[in-house]
């Protein structure tokens, strides 16, 4: 059961596209380059305008939703989303400001039939009338005048823990509230958490949400620079970031892939043998309701169905006028390459530490000397030779650039 405004037969129908909504449609997706705070502020401002309520009332609504957005964004980042994508998902889940305002206004209006029903009850039973009067009289006042409770300190603490095969991030707030987020979208889930791996994970999760960055006496930071690896799309930007709408219910995977290729104005090619190896096939049912989402996001959503049991995902490549779908493993084999890296500029990194770092964070299951089947890494003099799929090299280059920056 999904009590979502966009679910079929949902009584509230608060996400129906309303006339005049075009002006704010895609607000959450039109923020490329804008600071995320501004995107959120714009959304809340649009909601405030649509509500047309007293300022204090509208302000309370916006404050509550702002807090929701902040926490939802935090959870998505902990799951592995980039911050901009996390904010976009959080705002998409809220829907358009006009639709949200409509839901709020409907919730404030008593249906006429309820008054008729109550009146009937009053006539039939004096006890019902008495209970209603008592209920109205005992309704607790909104604590508008009460001073807010302040948090004890300014920090939250993140702690990664392993729960079976899942990596959970325990979020502890100063007020004692403890929450757990499953980091389902992280590329790397360690088999065990050593102190060094735990520290590396905390840095990797998101510097913006860590609370244990020490401050100077002046209240600023100690100047710790952070950098996050953003895995690039396997598709050209013009396709991967193309916004599409794809709505289907229990549609066979073959049709969904054809639809997606059509939305990208490409012919479709599917490596079914490779996809069958993931456990999915032409008839695997897929249900999606994605509106104005990037093609990359759509493929990730499709993988929710394809990779549900096997954990093996499909991927896509664009070649000429064709959008080709296959498994990640299929493309890895096809895109294998041998690359030499000149390490002479890395003065303070020994080869053993570098190998350990790379094989811990770059597709740890793929290295042949660790039981995998994809990649080799060897050192010879000042050079490192890596035979691996293309996406491994992208990740390795990021690490080497980070080490070189030191």
């Amino acid at each position: 059961m999904t009590t979502s405004p966009s679910a079929p037969n949902e009584r509230h129908k608060c996400a129906d596209h309303l006339p005049g909504e075009v002006a704010v449609r895609g607000l959450a997706n039109s923020h490329s380059g804008l600071p995320t705070d501004q995107v959120v502020g714009d959304w809340l401002g649009a909601l405030r305008d649509e509500l047309r309520w007293r300022e204090d009332h509208a302000g309370s609504v916006c404050d509550e939703l702002e807090s929701h957005i902040a926490e939802r964004t935090r959870d998505l980042v902990l799951c592995g989303y980039g911050e901009e994508a996390a904010v976009r998902v959080a705002l998409d889940e809220l829907g358009e400001p006009r639709a949200m305002a409509t839901c709020y206004r409907r919730a404030q209006v008593e249906p006429a039939r309820r008054y008729v029903m109550n009146a009937s009850l009053f006539l039939l039973s004096g006890a019902a009338l008495g209970l209603s009067i008592m209920a109205v009289a005992s309704r607790p006042d909104l604590p508008v005048g009460q001073p807010p409770v302040e948090s004890a300190s300014e920090a939250i603490h993140l702690r990664p823990v392993l729960d079976g095969a899942n990596l959970k991030i325990i979020v502890s707030e100063p007020n004692g509230l403890v929450d757990a987020v499953t980091a389902s979208r992280l590329q790397y889930i360690p088999d065990a958490l050593t102190p060094s791996t735990e520290r590396a994970l905390q840095r990797m999760l998101s510097a913006q949400y860590l609370s244990n960055i020490p401050k100077t006496d002046e209240g600023g930071h100690m100047g710790i620079q952070t950098s996050r690896f953003e895995r690039p799309s396997s598709l050209p930007q013009v396709i991967g970031e193309k916004m599409v709408t794809l709505v289907c219910s229990d549609k066979p995977l073959a049709e969904v892939l054809t639809m997606l290729a059509g939305l990208c104005e490409r012919q479709v090619a599917v490596q079914w043998d490779a996809i069958n190896a993931t456990g999915a096939d032409r008839d695997t049912p897929v249900s999606l309701e994605l509106r104005e989402r990037s093609v990359d996001e759509v493929i990730r959503a499709i993988n929710e169905f394809v990779a549900r049991d096997s954990g093996r995902r499909i991927d896509a490549r664009a070649e000429g006028n064709t959008l080709e779908f296959g498994s990640v493993e299929y493309f890895d084999q096809r895109e294998m390459s041998l690359v030499s890296y000149d390490l002479s500029s890395l003065n303070n990194v020994d080869s053993d530490s570098l190998k350990d770092l790379l094989q811990t964070f770059v597709e740890p299951d793929g290295w042949k000397d660790q039981g995998g089947s994809m990649a080799w890494l060897k050192f010879a003099g000042p050079k490192m030779f890596v035979q691996a799929p293309k996406r491994y090299h992208t990740h390795i280059e990021w690490f080497l650039n980070e080490l070189q920056a030191n």
Binding site: S67, E154, K215
Partner: protein
């Protein structure tokens, strides 16, 4: 024959049930419901928050605010410089069930049980002697 009143949205029952166990804020309610239903029930913000507003107006739940000092440390200095109204934090709205809400929850639960019993009566094995 008359059926119990099933016009009540189960969402209200679910929210009251969750709040009867502990005070929570909106986002935590969605997570609690999803966790307890194994992901089967997802309360979207567009449904939940207007419903909470309605339930509060009806006196079924009460609320209080908590100021969360920014957990994004880089924002603390900015808020202090701009002189934010609450000194630089966002506000989180907590909800708790009221006495009226507890009564409403009991009514919902009773109606749900009556309905479930009614449906179950159609699913029981045929009485002995009725089989062909």
């Amino acid at each position: 024959m008359s059926f119990p009143d099933f016009k009540h949205d189960p969402t209200e029952l679910i929210v009251l049930a969750v709040l009867s166990e502990s005070s929570l804020y909106g986002y935590a309610i969605t997570k609690q419901v999803a966790a307890r239903s194994g992901g089967e029930i997802k309360l979207s913000p567009g449904v939940l928050y207007p419903l909470l507003s309605k339930m509060e107006r009806q006196g079924l739940i009460a609320s209080s605010w908590e100021v969360i000092r920014s957990d994004r440390a880089s924002n603390v200095a900015e808020d202090q410089e701009s002189g934010g109204a609450d000194g630089g934090g966002r506000r989180r709205k907590w909800y708790r069930i009221s006495a009226k809400g507890k009564r409403r929850l009991a009514q919902h639960a009773e109606a749900h049980r009556a309905y479930a019993a009614l449906i179950n009566s159609f699913l029981s094995p045929a009485r002995q002697g009725d089989e062909a």
